[in-house]
């Protein structure tokens, strides 16, 4: 058994006992071929918290998010573990029970807002559909609420914009439409899968600010997924670094980004472009996430790890708490690393 880390937020100082909105415990997600797309993921999201899920492409971030939202593609399903949302195990819910949660208590924002919206329906209509599904508001009430939420997500000129079609909006506006859809019923949890990846850096900043704003005003917890540690730094309270379907490191943003304990995190950080690194070639982690999704018996990062020792290729490191709330799955973590204690 790998170490439990439900206590991951206990470092949050003053508010000691937070309610855990989402608890993922030893989640394994497999495709019908038996491939382990997510191998053993455990982490929590507390009320009002923003948790970042980071890692390179193919690490299983989206699959984890889709499992929580119950939107896994056909042929892929969780085969082990639990996904507890507000004390209910989502894996055991019926289709109807799921539907009642999606769009009301759980909002979902996807990466590619152009394809994520129906090209044939005006965006206002698509936002209003969520109300149609979950409330018994009439048309006028729905329209009023749609315009309200459209201005809340800073969409200009909601009256006019609501009648436009997705292709007539800018990338940033489309992303805001998706966010409006996700938050219109005041969900407890917002899952945002790379919501800023397709956007230029200015718009990216605006969307991050909007998410932060929604989080602080509405007390919405956010599971924010990104392959980009710099966006996570700006937004998240805590970070889960995922590698090949297994968490490599979990901790507060300050802990993980300032004192990375896992070699993988360290290398990810080195790959972030920053002003003081201008002109230098960016450090790239050589190789890529292995496509082999068989069972793991040793550290999945070892083949790419510049510091790997022989133990790394023999055993699977468990998550260990290296400082309060800071967990890492790396044999090298204690050895040569300054953990700031």
């Amino acid at each position: 058994m790998r170490a439990q880390c439900e206590g991951g937020t206990r470092n949050n100082g003053e508010n000691m006992k937070q309610n855990m909105l989402l608890q993922i415990e030893h989640l394994k997600v497999q495709s019908f071929t038996g491939a382990e797309l997510v191998r053993d993921v455990s982490f929590t999201v507390a009320d009002g918290e923003i948790v970042g899920l980071v890692g390179e492409s193919g690490c299983g971030k989206s699959i984890t998010a889709l499992t929580v939202a119950g939107l896994l593609p056909e042929g892929i399903r969780p085969t082990r573990g639990r996904v507890v949302f507000d004390h209910v195990d989502m894996v055991t819910l019926s289709r109807q029970e799921r539907r009642a949660l999606n769009g009301s208590r759980i909002g979902m924002v996807f990466q590619d807002a152009l394809t994520a919206l129906n090209p044939l329906l005006p965006v206002g209509h698509q936002i209003g559909e969520v109300l149609k599904i979950h409330t018994d508001m009439n048309r006028i009430e729905r329209r009023k609420r749609v315009l309200e939420v459209m201005s809340a997500v800073d969409l200009p000129n909601p009256e006019e914009l609501s009648r436009r079609y997705p292709h007539e909006l800018s990338g940033g506006q489309r992303q805001r439409v998706l966010i409006a859809m996700a938050v219109i019923n005041n969900p407890s949890l917002l899952i945002a899968d790379e919501p800023t990846t397709a956007l230029d850096s200015v718009v990216q900043g605006q969307i991050l600010a909007l998410l932060k704003d929604i989080n602080s005003k509405e007390q919405v917890s956010i599971l924010f997924i990104s392959h980009d540690l710099s966006t996570v730094r700006r937004l998240c309270d805590r970070v889960v670094v995922l590698y090949a379907g297994i968490p490599a490191e979990i901790g507060t943003t300050a802990q993980v980004l300032a004192r990375p304990a896992h070699v993988y995190t360290e290398l990810l950080l080195a790959a972030i472009p920053t002003p003081d690194k201008r002109g230098q070639t960016l450090a790239q982690i050589p190789g890529q996430v292995a496509d082999d999704r068989g069972p793991v018996t040793f550290c999945p990062f070892a083949p790419r790890c510049p510091k790997a020792i022989s133990r790394c290729r023999k055993e699977l490191p468990e998550l260990r708490e290296v400082e309060p709330g800071h967990w890492v799955a790396c044999f090298l973590a204690e050895g040569g690393y300054d953990l700031g204690t």
Partner: protein
């Protein structure tokens, strides 16, 4: 919109002109002199020449073409050489039967294809899907005239029951027409059904794996809502386009089927006219069908624009809009990271 309509009109006129030129040339090339046919086997060369002059057949080809085109445009395509009555009279009698049959078959295709496509796509590769596939493929493989004969035997209907009553000159109500045309229309519809069902079914299956469907599920939409509100709508454009394409085939099909059921439609008229080298009559029938096909394509275009805003040509930023070529595949999931 006005610019769009003008462009469309220009294209339409050009298409129709081209069709008339082609038919004219083909007719000029095939052997057989209508004047000789009219004059009879034993006629003297003088008599044949006289008839030729009377019909304007002694004129050079370009003049004959211009005369003919002028006649068409003024709504007077001239006398039928074979029947010696105005071409329009003949067509007014025959066209309702053929076109009625064609549109009847067309609506049958729509009414059958949409539910079948919806049902087949529910579980792709499942029993129902396979049965529908096999059955529609089979009906595709059977030639419509043979299907017509099979249907007549099956429903114990004779040729006289269908076509005979018409030829007798009775006055028939719309209901009578509908009853009379049901079997012929079914024969045509069945032969064209497979393509539309397959098109719709494939589109439905493909569209149900798109990102916007995932979004709809994320909203908590029911399966029914997802299919009817989101998926089906996105399948309409390719389906309507396919329907537009088969209408020409259906009109062609009804010309053949008329023979089986002894219906005095355009088909019968066309055969007689070609045999008699009755150029005005043939040309007019072909042009009528061409106009219809062009018209249908225009309606298809308008319908698709109504459904898909990306196809709408807005003058102010038409350049940007025309870039979009939404096909079933275009909305397909782009590589997900």
């Amino acid at each position: 919109m006005a610019a769009y309509l003008l462009r469309k009109l220009r294209d339409t006129i050009f298409t129709l002109l081209l069709v008339s030129v082609i038919v004219f040339i083909i007719f000029a090339l095939i052997p057989g002199n209508p004047a000789r046919i009219i004059a009879g086997v034993n006629a003297t060369p003088e008599k044949v020449a006289f008839i030729e002059a009377e019909l304007g057949l002694d004129q050079p080809l370009p003049i004959r073409f211009i005369n003919y085109l002028g006649g068409l445009l003024t709504g007077n395509p001239g006398q039928s050489l074979r029947f010696n009555v105005p071409v329009t009279d003949l067509i007014v009698d025959a066209a309702p039967i053929t076109l009625g049959l064609a549109f009847y078959a067309f609506f049958m295709v729509i009414l059958l294809a949409i539910p079948l496509g919806l049902i087949a796509s529910r579980r792709p590769g499942g029993v129902v899907d396979t049965v529908i596939h096999v059955v529609t493929e089979t009906t595709l493989a059977i030639p419509p005239f043979f299907m017509a004969i099979v249907l007549m035997l099956l429903f114990r209907v004779t040729q006289a029951d269908v076509g005979g009553s018409l030829s007798s000159g009775e006055i028939l109500t719309f209901g009578d027409h509908l009853k009379m045309l049901t079997l012929p229309a079914l024969a045509i519809a069945l032969s064209r059904l497979a393509m539309v069902v397959e098109f719709l079914r494939d589109a439905l299956v493909e569209e149900s794996h798109t990102d916007y469907v995932r979004t709809a599920k994320g909203k908590g939409a029911s399966r029914m809502r997802i299919r009817m509100v989101h998926v089906l709508r996105n399948c309409l454009v390719p389906t309507i386009t396919a329907l537009g394409l088969i209408l020409a085939e259906i009109i062609g099909g009804s010309i053949i089927i008329e023979q089986v059921f002894l219906l005095p439609g355009l088909g019968r008229l066309l055969f007689t006219a070609v045999e008699a080298r009755d150029f005005p009559l043939v040309q007019t029938i072909i042009m009528l069908i061409a106009v219809l096909v062009v018209l249908v394509n225009f309606v298809v275009d308008l319908l698709n624009q109504f459904i898909d805003p990306r196809l709408r040509v807005v003058q102010s930023h038409s350049r940007r809009h025309r870039k979009y070529q939404p096909t079933v595949a275009a909305a397909k999931k782009k590589g997900n990271s």
